[in-house]
């Protein structure tokens, strides 16, 4: 992974995502009511609350699926509100979905390459006419290694062409994208089924594939919407590890999750919503003890006890 963060503590108080008095109404339903919170760089922030509290809506407001009725979302100093989803992605926010939304007919690898494409530049015209040409770096040149004479001379010809005219950006990006996608699949641990169609993967693999695809867009912030739904405890533990690794690679994470063991175990701070309003915010320990949160959400914890 390319991001490299030496000292998280220094960065910890730099705000990355600011939700500023965001309100979102659907007709009579107030899904978000004047919500404020901040996510700091390098942090894993949990977003919890009862069903229908407005968590997913909050994600939708951040990623441009819905436009807030009032208030503003800022990311990295820039206003996000009003931008379209792909622009927001370009700013550096990626997400996964509560109901998995992969490209079901594409292979796992292709799904991730689509993510990589977000950072690529070849346009349609560039693809058609293979322009612009770029002087390749040595490792990007075609290799000549076959023993068969005819094949060999063919390859030499290609090498000569590449040296003389350069290689199209299209080709370079294609190669880079594929390599990076493969690496990401390995990172989330599903490289063994890279060439299988997304739809045929088991649920858990699909969830991880969604994460890989989101990471491929090189976000600064990764938003995960109930990534552990449908996982058994052992799998949740793996996910816990994965999220930590993601953070250690320099991403910030915003996590919606109903599994308290996971949330309490992995997040740095937690924001609690109820009926669209923020009712609490603080470290996991603080939130766990907060009577309002217990009343509204946690109830009497059986397994946490």
């Amino acid at each position: 992974m390319s991001h490299n963060v030496e000292n998280r503590a220094d960065e910890a108080r730099v705000p990355l995502l600011e939700i500023d008095k965001v309100t979102l109404r659907f007709g009579g339903v107030v899904a978000l009511d004047n919500v404020n919170f901040t996510l700091y760089r390098g942090e894993i922030l949990g977003l919890i609350g009862p069903n229908g509290a407005g968590k997913t809506t909050c994600f939708n407001a951040i990623t441009g699926v819905y436009k807030p009725t009032a208030g503003e979302v800022r990311f990295d100093g820039q206003t996000v509100t009003g931008r379209r989803p792909f622009e927001i992605n370009n700013l550096g926010i990626a997400r996964t979905f509560q109901n998995i939304r992969l490209f079901p007919e594409m292979t796992a690898l292709e799904n991730v390459i689509v993510g990589c494409d977000a950072r690529h530049k070849t346009s349609v015209a560039g693809t058609l006419f293979r322009l612009p040409r770029i002087k390749p770096k040595p490792h990007e040149l075609p290799v000549v290694d076959a023993t068969n004479g005819m094949v060999r001379s063919w390859q030499s010809l290609r090498l000569a062409c590449a040296k003389a005219f350069g290689i199209s950006r299209h080709t370079l990006e294609e190669r880079a994208g594929e390599a990076k996608a493969m690496e990401l699949l390995r990172f989330v641990g599903i490289a063994d089924r890279a060439n299988e169609q997304a739809r045929n993967l088991p649920y858990g693999y699909q969830r991880r594939l969604e994460i890989a695809r989101a990471l491929a867009t090189e976000p600064k912030l990764l938003c995960l919407d109930e990534p552990a739904a449908g996982f058994n405890p052992a799998e949740k533990e793996e996910l816990n590890q994965l999220i930590r690794r993601i953070r250690d690679n320099g991403y910030s994470v915003l996590l919606i999750e109903h599994d308290m063991r996971l949330v309490m175990g992995v997040t740095d701070r937690i924001v609690v919503l109820e009926f669209g309003k923020k009712i609490a915010e603080g470290s996991p320990a603080e939130v766990r003890e907060n009577p309002k949160v217990i009343a509204a959400y946690l109830g009497v914890q059986e397994d946490a006890a």
């Binding site: 659907f26 339903v29 609350g49 009862p50 069903n51 229908g52 509290a53 407005g54 968590k55 997913t56 809506t57 509560q98 109901n99 045929n200 993967l201 088991p202 649920y203 858990g204 693999y205 109930e226 739904a229 449908g230 996982f231 058994n232 405890p233 052992a234 799998e235 949740k236 533990e237 109903h258 308290m260 063991r261 959400y297 946690l298 109830g299 914890q301 059986e302 397994d303």
Partner: protein, 236 residues
């Protein structure tokens, strides 16, 4: 015996998702089916309710062979499923969704009573009865799905991960409801990732691993089985 599955094989294309499993569910029981992602739990449920054909093996329900029976006719025999991923009717209101659960029922007064019961269980649904189900939150949709299955008053209720996406408090509630309706006479076959909860409520349970039943026993037995503990309950 209410439900008897023998050597069931189900395929997706060339891939066998189930390699010949046998499951029995007795009248009045809660039976849990647990297993890792992709083990074939959902596939089993779909085969029982008839939206996935059985390639081999047989399914008997209340003494009748239903292996080749159409899905909607199985509902009429008394099997109702709350599907994985909720499957609400997105354009219908909450109320209409619940009514759909009672599609095959003729007893109007009974339906009305059951509707009140569901609204009692999930007050959020009562508040939002006129909201279009597709715009409900994930957890709210899950409530709709479970509520709808309850509306059918089936002999055999199939629940595929009913707790998915629900807040901790509501999960407690769901399991209480399961026990409660079981007590009222409904047989339940339950698929759950929340193995702890499921096993502690179930009379019996099966463990499914990559398309095969690898263990079976009472809920309590499995709950304390060390290998199960490792694989499915997580180290507390």
């Amino acid at each position: 015996m209410l439900l008897e599955i023998k050597d069931l094989v189900v395929r997706y294309g060339r891939i066998d998702a189930l390699h010949g499993i046998s499951i029995e569910v007795n009248e009045g029981e809660i039976v849990a089916l647990i297993g890792a992602n992709g083990a074939g739990k959902t596939t089993t449920m779909r085969a029982i309710s008839g939206i996935r054909p059985a390639a081999q093996g047989s399914i008997q329900f209340a003494g009748e062979d239903i292996t080749k029976l159409r899905a909607d006719l199985r509902v009429r025999r008394g099997i109702c499923q709350s599907p994985e991923g909720r499957g609400v009717f997105p354009g219908m209101t909450v109320l209409e969704n619940l009514d759909m659960g009672a599609y095959t029922r003729k007893d109007k007064s009974g339906v009305a009573a059951d509707l009140d019961r569901v609204f009692g269980l999930f007050p959020r649904l009562a508040e939002r009865r006129k909201q279009v189900a597709g715009t409900m939150s994930g957890g709210e949709q899950q409530m709709v799905a479970v509520g709808r299955a309850l509306m059918a008053r089936p002999k055999l209720l199939l629940l595929d991960e009913p707790s998915m996406g629900l807040a901790p408090m509501v999960i407690q509630q769901i399991f209480d409801i399961i026990v409660e309706i079981n007590r009222q006479g409904t047989t339940v076959l339950l698929v759950e990732q929340n193995a702890q909860q499921a096993l502690s409520r179930a009379h019996r349970a099966y463990v499914l691993e990559t398309g095969l039943i690898t263990k079976t026993g009472t809920g309590q037995e499995l709950l304390h089985d060390p290998s199960i503990k490792d694989a499915y309950l997580g180290v507390a």
